[in-house]
Structure formats: C-alpha cells, structure tokens
Symmetry: C2
Subunit: 340 residues, 2 copies
C-alpha cells in the first residue's frame, strides 16, 4: 500500500511532506503529568471506543506496552509517533489509520495528539482531515476548553488551537549557498520555527528542514495554515531559483556531484547514516533537476526509511550491532538502487 512517507506529492521537488497535529485533553481527567495509571487507561479506552465508532476508516490500535523496542522505533522512524511516546508503556498507545495518514497518539504529552500527514505540500488537506477527526472525537469526548484561551494543553506553547502545522522541505541549494540563514531568520520573525529533521542540534542531515508554526494562540487554525503555507511556498520558490542558478553556473560540476553520490551509494560496502543521507540528498536533487531519470523520488524515500537503525534491523530479522550496521545499510541501499 502506498504511504505518505513514500509517495511524492504536490511541489514534491522541494516539499517532502506536510503534517498538522492538534493537541487535545479530556476535561475531567488530570493532565498527563498529574494523572494515575487508572486515569491513563480510562483515556486510552475512551479514545479507542470512540474510534471503533468510525465506520469510515480502518484503524490499528497499538498499545505501547505490547510492542518491542524495535517496532516502537520503526514507528518513530516513519514519523508516525514521537520519540517521547516510544518511551511510554502501559496506558499509552497510538491509533493508526490503514494508510498511516492518520496517527493519534494517546497519553503522550497531552491526552491526545491527532496527526494527519500527506506527501508534498498539502497542509490544507492535512488540516481538513485533522479537523474532521477532531469534530468526530469532540462529539464523543469532552475536551478541556477555555472560552478565553481555547484548547488547554500540558505545555503553554500549545495552548489555544493546540495546532502545529509543519512541512518537511529538502533545501540543498539554500543550505549549500548559505542563503538558508537569512530565510530562517525571516521565518523566526514571522513566528515559524525551523529545525533539521535528521542530525543533532542545528545540523540538517540530508538538507531536510522542517518548518512549523510557533504561535498557537490568537490566530485561527486557517490563519496558521495559511501563514505556514505562504511561507513554505516562498521558500520553495527560492530553493528552485537557487538550484537553477547553481546548475546554470556549471552544469557539468552539478551533474558530476549528483552522479558521484549515486555511484558511491550503488557501490559502497560500508556506509554511515550521516553519509547516506548526504549522498541521497544529492541524488534527490539530481532527480528533481531531471539529471537522473531512472530512479524515482519514491524509491529515494524508501531508501531514506530503510537505512534507519530500526527499519534496518527489522528487515534483517536479527539484532544488528553497531559494527555491522553500516554494512547492512550499504547492502540495503545497493539492493534498492541497483534494482530499478
């Protein structure tokens, strides 16, 4: 089955995926940090019961205490649950729609985190789906809501709409040229946050950057969506312009870099995750520029997923220690990129 984290969506040459999440809490149950196990289980059961009434979609209910660490991490690597939820056990769960475009985390930081994801730039669509689920749940659950403040959340940074709208962008040209700095400064002034999707601290391995709203209060959901959408659309335009400039300045050097990276990916016997995503970024850029035509964006997304530790281990079917992980990763990449 096709998945949002594999598919290519609108503006997919730059925009990898869009996500909207709503933070919600039950009115008559203490917030997560204050509640006891019985209350956590009550939340879990009531959410589960509500979703059973949705005849429109098929859902999986995954209790965090029922799956092993590798499978928990597989969900994290697919961006279906947060690393935070992966550390929870009894009373915490995730509810996934069959196509994995809907992921509802139960008893993560808030009682409920409703998330909807789509490939490419489709914030509007993600918001509509989120809203539909939110309305559906609100008919069955009393949310903690304040007339002045809006939806109440564990962390005050989420209060109001409880909404985080984010878009994952592939920005090799803006990062390589350093223009990214000015753009991110401008984003910050407009109330958006940017962070690397992979790598630690300020790094953005694979040139993947996530842009999301910082402000959840004082704006309507539609205003937030529109704000991020406009901002991201502008960044996409700038990334495309700089890509073209870099290409035109020296087409051969541009193609050389793309093909060398592909050559290494298709031949390496040992490769780190960091190097893999760096080279995959070059290949992805090459695809978007029409330089490489025998590999699809979807294939690159598959590779991005399969090279991460838990997915790698799951595919191997055995425990993989650090020493052999880089060899397994190289083999997985070769298999994916040499069989077109």
């Amino acid at each position: 089955m096709s998945r949002w984290y594999i598919d290519k969506g609108p503006q997919g040459d730059v925009a990898v995926s869009s996500r909207v999440r709503l933070a919600r809490n039950f009115e008559n149950i203490p917030f997560h940090s204050m509640m006891d196990e019985a209350q956590a289980l009550e939340v879990e059961n009531r959410v589960k019961k509500a979703f059973l009434e949705d005849s429109g979609k098929k859902y999986s209910f995954i209790d965090m205490q029922d799956i092993d660490p590798v499978n928990r991490q597989v969900l994290v690597e697919k961006h279906l649950i947060s690393p935070n939820l992966a550390e929870r056990r009894r009373g915490s769960a995730v509810i996934l729609s069959d196509d994995e475009s809907i992921s509802v985390m139960v008893n993560e930081e808030d009682h409920l985190r409703i998330q909807c994801m789509f490939p490419g730039l489709q914030l509007e669509k993600a918001w509509e789906l989120c809203d539909r689920i939110d309305v559906f749940l609100e008919e069955r659950i009393d949310y903690a809501f304040d007339k002045e403040l809006g939806y109440l959340t564990c962390c005050p940074t989420n209060i109001g709409t409880g909404m985080r709208a984010s878009v994952m962008l592939h920005l090799p040209a803006l990062i390589q040229t350093g223009y990214i700095k000015d753009i991110l400064d401008a984003c910050a002034k407009l109330g958006a946050a940017a962070r690397g999707v992979y790598g630690e601290h300020s790094e953005a391995w694979g040139n993947m950057v996530q842009i999301s709203n910082q402000i959840t209060l004082g704006l309507s959901e539609n205003e937030i969506i529109k704000g991020i959408d406009d901002m991201v659309s502008q960044i996409i335009g700038q990334e495309r312009m700089i890509r073209k400039k870099l290409y035109d300045r020296d087409p051969l050097a541009f193609e050389d870099k793309v093909y060398r990276s592909l050559g290494i990916l298709r031949n390496a016997r040992v490769i780190s995750f960091e190097e893999s995503v760096r080279l995959l970024s070059d290949v992805k850029l090459g695809i978007s520029m029409g330089i490489i035509s025998d590999i699809s964006d979807e294939r690159i997304n598959e590779v991005m997923l399969c090279i991460q530790p838990a997915n790698l281990q799951k595919a191997a079917g055995i425990a993989i220690n650090n020493e052999v992980r880089d060899a397994h990763r190289a083999e997985a990449i070769r298999k994916k990129l040499n069989s077109i």
Copy 2:
C-alpha cells in the same frame, strides 16, 4: 592487436611491465650533442637500412619531423618513446615493431636506444629480444666500443653495458602502509633506482613505481637482469603479503574502498588525471584480490592509456583544452568501464 602495455603478463597482479634498453652509438660519428644535421641523417638512414634487412619482423619508421605534437605525445604516453625524443625533429626517429614490443629510438640522447618491452615480469625475455636486435645491428653497424669500458655512451651513467633494465610495479599496499620507504632504501643500497611512473618529484600517482638498475658498468648484462629480477621478485612477494594482511584485517573496509572507487569512475562527469589513476589503482588492486571479477586488468590498462592528454585528444578527434579535458576523461572512463 594485443600490446604489451595492455596485456597482463606473468606476476601481473603486481608487475605491470618489464623493459630492457641498450644505449648504443656509431663508432665514426660524433655523439649526438656534437654532431651536425648531416651526421644525424646518416645515422638515421643507416639504422633504417639495417632494419629493412630484418625479414623476421615488420617495422614502422616514424620520423619525428613527420608527426604532429599530439601523435608524438601519444607515443610518449604509450612509453614507446621518451619525452626527450618527442622534442626532437629532423634526424630523430623511432622504429617500432608491429606489436610495439620493440622500439628503437634514433638520435635521442645516444645514436641508438634499443628498447624491448613485455607485460608483467619478463626481464629475461626482454633482454633476449634486445640482445638479438643488438647482435643483428652490430653485424651492420660499427658501435663505439672500448675494450676496458665496453659500449660508450653520451652520459657516463650508461657506459659499459649501456643497459637499463626496469620493471613497472603496482604497489598500493606497500605505499599505503609506508613500508615502501624501507624497500626503496634497500633497493638504493643494492644499486637500483625507483621512481614514480606518473606524477612529479617523489610522487607515485596510481601507486606505480619503476625499479631499474643504476649501475651499467662492471657487471654483465645477465648479472644486471638477474639482480633486478631478484629484487623485484622480493618486492612482489612483500606487496602480496601486505595486501593480504590489509584485506584480512578488515575485508569489508577493503572491499568498500575498492567499490567506492569503481562507483566514482563509473559515474563521474568531471575527473582529473590524478584522481583517475588513484581510483584506478584501487580497482586494479580489487581485481588482483578477486573482489572485482567483471573487469579485466587489460581493461584497466586500456583506461590508464586512454585518459592521458594526447590519447584523449586523439580519441576525441578535436583539440581539447584544459577546461573540457576532465569532462572528456570522465566520459572515456565511463565508456570503458560500463561496457564490459
């Protein structure tokens, strides 16, 4: 037709080629630096006439004034003539046997430089052929010879036998580990010289090293051949041992390096000569270790030749300036290595 500089010979995993050359001068004609044009032409004509009497082989006579700079340089890159001869014009020539295993330079530093080349370690065979030609010529030409000193040559370093016996070796393991230094020091003590085949000064681009005798006087030809042959055989044994040690220490890292280099060669769009020979050295090593089996040593030798400036230009059929040379080189390599 098969050529010594393309073929793989005995001990071909380390020994690329063997060469013996004899320096000879006419008795009654001044040495090259002292002679006039008429005398140079006399030398040329008498040598040419002598070779016409050899019915055993077919020869080409190439006058240096008759070929253009690109074709002169092609001969240098094939190691058929010296850079020194390539700068001469009227009165200087090269006589090549059809299979190019015999190359007689006329009016280079000496009146005659008789060279015989074979793939792999075949000094004995090269010496036998050289000797046969030398005897054949001596029946027709009076050589400058002194009972005490032996054959007289322009440069005193060639006097006596006039012989230089040399073997081109591929020594990636000894160079990578630094053991090469001790080995070359030992060679020097035993009267042999070592120099990189490509690159300037003490560099040995592509890990190609040429070992040759320094002493031409006071030893018989057979003693010189045996001395270099023994020395080279020892170096070959050490190179093989270190290759195996490096492989056994970390087979995966070893294979990784080999395949990454192959991946870059098969994909690059721009590549310098220096980088090419570095990567080709890795691939050659990989072939010798049985890691790569779908590319032959002969194919690597073809690539080594075709990536050099004059051969590159000759293949292109047009003048290639520095800017586009690296692109032509990358294309030539891709063609050779992707069509197996």
